[in-house]
């Protein structure tokens, strides 16, 4: 069947076939997920044989809704978010046939968790300035030896694999001498250290790479083309951060609205005015996200996607700040400063103090708001680029 002929109805038929061959009630969850992948219903827009059917991406929603209604297990996309949202689309776009077959199935099944070794202490917003080195041994086809330090790596402590960018030619300008790799997190020389955050938790890590050997077969894309590959990852990262679907009064506004209703003694006129403003803005953000999804479903992606993360970050910060203030004396307290290592990131979890502190990261992680505003200004509005004096300089000659 060709992609053009695949309709929502065809997919519903396939879902019913899957469900009747593997009834969720009597099938082990892992077995069901494997069968779902093999039926091409994991990510329907991927090619046949790789968990998909080459169908329009918008039809995934049809499959998800049918499976959810049937009580089928899901693959906990939040736990494996980096693999699903970032590694997978990049491997699909740039991987060899062999890499796609090796990595996509265990990734989707959650058998192998992924992390992202991009940011460094000296390369945050200026990511292309990164200094982690990869040197090839023994010429063409030889192993690569990687040395350097990465930071802000969520899931590194549970990950089996990492997407990694490293410098392979310091004599070239910074965007040109980068190569993209798939790094085995169990390889000798990979050391993961918890990085304690503002919230008291260690949801992120520092990763030290000392003489880590990566076979050339785990290089993704051409030598020196890593920046183009990384841009695919970063684009997908932004979409996945801002793209969550929430109901009216969902997300960060929910606990504030509930506290407002249940605890009239906390109400003041000033807080009321600010709460209503933020309630309206949260509802408009929900509608904007909904409109973006409708555009995507029609195959007309709008540029709104680049802006959703900005709105999401600003609103989370303003709403959680209001919540702490609303709680009065209770807002002075914090639930627990014990060092913890959560497996998933939960922006709205725990108490108001946690939400307030964690939301500070929303305008930094996955591209700072300042960088995203530049991207909107330059790519959406067509304003002239920032003048850059590092463009033609060799990386080794840059000021650090």
């Amino acid at each position: 069947m060709t992609a053009a002929a695949l309709t929502a109805e065809h997919l519903r038929v396939r879902v019913r076939e899957l469900l009747s061959a593997h009834p969720p009630a009597t099938t082990a969850p892992a077995e069901f997920l494997r069968a779902r992948f093999d039926a091409g219903l994991a990510w329907v827009h991927y090619p046949e044989g790789l968990g998909g059917l080459g169908a329009p991406r918008s039809l995934q929603a049809v499959v998800d809704a049918e499976l959810e209604a049937a009580g089928a297990p899901d693959n906990d996309p939040r736990r494996i978010g980096i693999g699903l949202g970032m590694a997978a689309p990049t491997i699909l776009a740039y991987g060899t046939e062999e890499q796609k077959r090796r990595f996509l199935r265990p990734l989707w099944l959650g058998e192998e968790v992924w992390c992202q070794l991009f940011s460094e202490p000296g390369a945050g917003s200026d990511l292309a300035a990164l200094g982690t080195r990869a040197v090839r041994e023994g010429g063409e086809g030889g192993d690569w030896v990687v040395d350097g330090q990465k930071v802000w790596t969520s899931s590194a402590h549970t990950a089996r694999w990492a997407i990694l960018i490293a410098r392979t030619d310091p004599a070239l300008p910074k965007h040109q001498g980068i190569t993209y790799f798939l790094c085995d997190m169990t390889a000798p020389g990979v050391e993961v250290r918890p990085l304690r955050q503002i919230t008291g938790e260690a949801e992120f890590n520092e990763v030290f790479l000392t003489g880590v050997r990566i076979p050339d077969a785990h290089r993704l894309g051409e030598v020196g083309q890593g920046w183009a590959v990384a841009r695919t990852t970063l684009m997908n990262e932004r979409v996945s951060i801002g793209g969550m679907r929430i109901p009216r009064e969902g997300g960060m506004i929910a606990p504030v609205a509930t506290a407002w209703r249940e605890r009239p003694e906390l109400r003041t006129h000033d807080l009321h005015g600010r709460l209503l403003e933020l309630w309206v803005e949260a509802e408009v953000a929900r509608l904007t996200g909904e409109r973006l999804r409708q555009q995507l479903a029609q195959g007309q992606p709008g540029p709104e996607g680049s802006g959703m993360k900005l709105t999401f970050a600003r609103l989370n910060q303003e709403i959680s700040g209001l919540e702490v203030e609303l709680l009065g004396e209770e807002g002075l307290l914090y639930e627990d400063w014990t060092l913890r290592r959560p497996e998933i990131v939960d922006f709205t979890g725990r108490d108001a103090g946690y939400r307030y502190l964690r939301a500070k990261g929303n305008s930094i992680e996955g591209g700072t708001s300042e960088i995203l505003l530049n991207i909107v200004a330059e790519r959406v509005l067509g304003l002239p680029a920032e003048p850059r004096d590092d463009k033609d300089l060799a990386w080794k000659d840059l000021a650090r």
Binding site: R261, T268, L276, T288, R291, E304, L373, L383, P384
Partner: protein, 374 residues
């Protein structure tokens, strides 16, 4: 207690709506360019009857909300919203919001033969009819004291700040005995033009002294019809505000790409770029809010009053901010009379008062979403 669940909404534009937009936009480009609007307001008679005839009758936009059996297009709020987006982009001095939306909705709510006759005239673009109500009157607010009927439909009283009254053929007058259609040129009717902040939507004070009209509805029906019209008007005004904001953003971006200072295009300075990127985000969000209101009105969604209040609470501010940024980022040029930015600033600010302020609509959100004041 919890907030009402959201109805599913279609937030996109249909092909038909895009065709309608193209027709309206090319008409306005030909007959209502900013320079032409500036020239018209200088004459003291900003309305352009010829432009109105083509827009209302030839393109058929006046009858979008009117059923086909009454000579209208039988379309709906989604289509009217697209027309208003374009009129907002042009700051067009035409009585669309007042005649084709507010008066039309009031007449639709009257359900009388007299109202139906008048609707036929409006839908055909033969007459302009405006409600003799202050432009600031908001959905959910108490209606003003009606004018007095001293017996036999002889009406006496005054209403201030009536938008587009100067170009109206018929006034809809709320009297203590019901709703009346009063010919604007009838004996006992006078319209005193007011000097308005918004030069593109003229205001007048309407005085009635023994004026006679045709009774369209009893008082209860009239009040319900007006309440419904105010809801639709407020919801669709969000689309006009979106159009205003969109013009301001587009013009400002175009200017800052070419205007050089310090040997660089002004738009290459990060402080300026970030302001424009934020404004773009606001406009993209306003589009979703305005579309949501139009769609909720079109489908008669149960949560339409909340969706309209959200759209008004949000879009008013975006239009004003966009117009203010337009003036500021054009520098000295933005402060001049010859540049059209001021027309948009005046329209945006006046629109932020029309049909309820953002604060009024946030108060409505508080009621609908059960977030009571202290």
């Amino acid at each position: 207690m919890s907030s009402p669940a959201a109805a599913p909404l279609d937030l996109l534009y249909s092909e038909t709506e895009e065709e309608l937009r193209t027709a309206v936009r090319s008409l306005l480009a030909a007959r209502c360019a900013p320079a032409a609007v500036l020239a018209r307001i200088e004459t003291g008679a900003p309305h352009d009857p010829e432009l109105w005839r083509v827009l209302a009758a030839d393109i058929g936009t006046a009858g979008l909300l009117v059923p086909e059996k009454l000579g209208g297009q039988g379309a709906g709020h989604r289509e009217a919203a697209v027309v208003l987006e374009e009129l907002g982009r042009a700051a067009a001095p035409v009585p669309y919001l007042t005649s084709a939306v507010l008066a039309t909705e009031i007449l639709l709510g009257c359900e009388s033969a007299e109202a139906a006759d008048l609707l036929r005239e409006l839908a055909a673009g033969r007459r302009v009819c405006v409600p003799a109500l202050p432009l600031t009157l908001a959905p959910g607010a108490p209606l003003p004291t009606p004018v007095r009927d001293s017996g036999g439909g002889s009406l006496g009283g005054s209403v201030g700040s009536v938008a587009d009254a100067v170009c109206a053929d018929v006034l809809l007058v709320l009297a203590d005995t019901g709703l009346y259609a009063v010919p604007a040129g009838a004996a006992g009717v006078s319209r005193t033009p007011l000097v308005a902040l918004d030069l593109t939507r003229p205001l007048a004070a309407v005085h009635l002294d023994g004026a006679a009209g045709t009774r369209l509805a009893d008082p209860a029906t009239a009040r319900a019809a007006i309440a419904g019209a105010l809801l639709s008007g407020a919801g669709l005004l969000a689309s006009e505000q979106l159009g205003t904001a969109e013009w301001c953003l587009t013009e400002t971006v175009a200017y800052l790409r070419t205007r050089h200072q310090f040997n660089r295009p002004l738009g290459s300075f990060q402080a300026v770029k970030h302001r424009l990127a934020r404004l773009w985000l606001d406009v993209a969000s306003a589009r979703a809010a305005a579309r949501a209101a139009a769609d909720a009105l079109a489908t008669g969604a149960a949560d339409a009053p909340l969706t309209v209040a959200v759209a008004q609470a949000y879009c008013s501010g975006v239009a004003v901010r966009a117009a203010e940024e337009c003036v500021q980022l054009h520098g000295g040029i933005g402060m001049t009379w010859e540049h059209p930015a001021h027309l948009y600033l005046k329209r945006a600010k006046a629109d932020s008062l029309a049909l309820g302020t953002a604060g009024h609509h946030r108060g409505l959100v508080a009621d609908f979403a059960e977030l009571p004041a202290p």
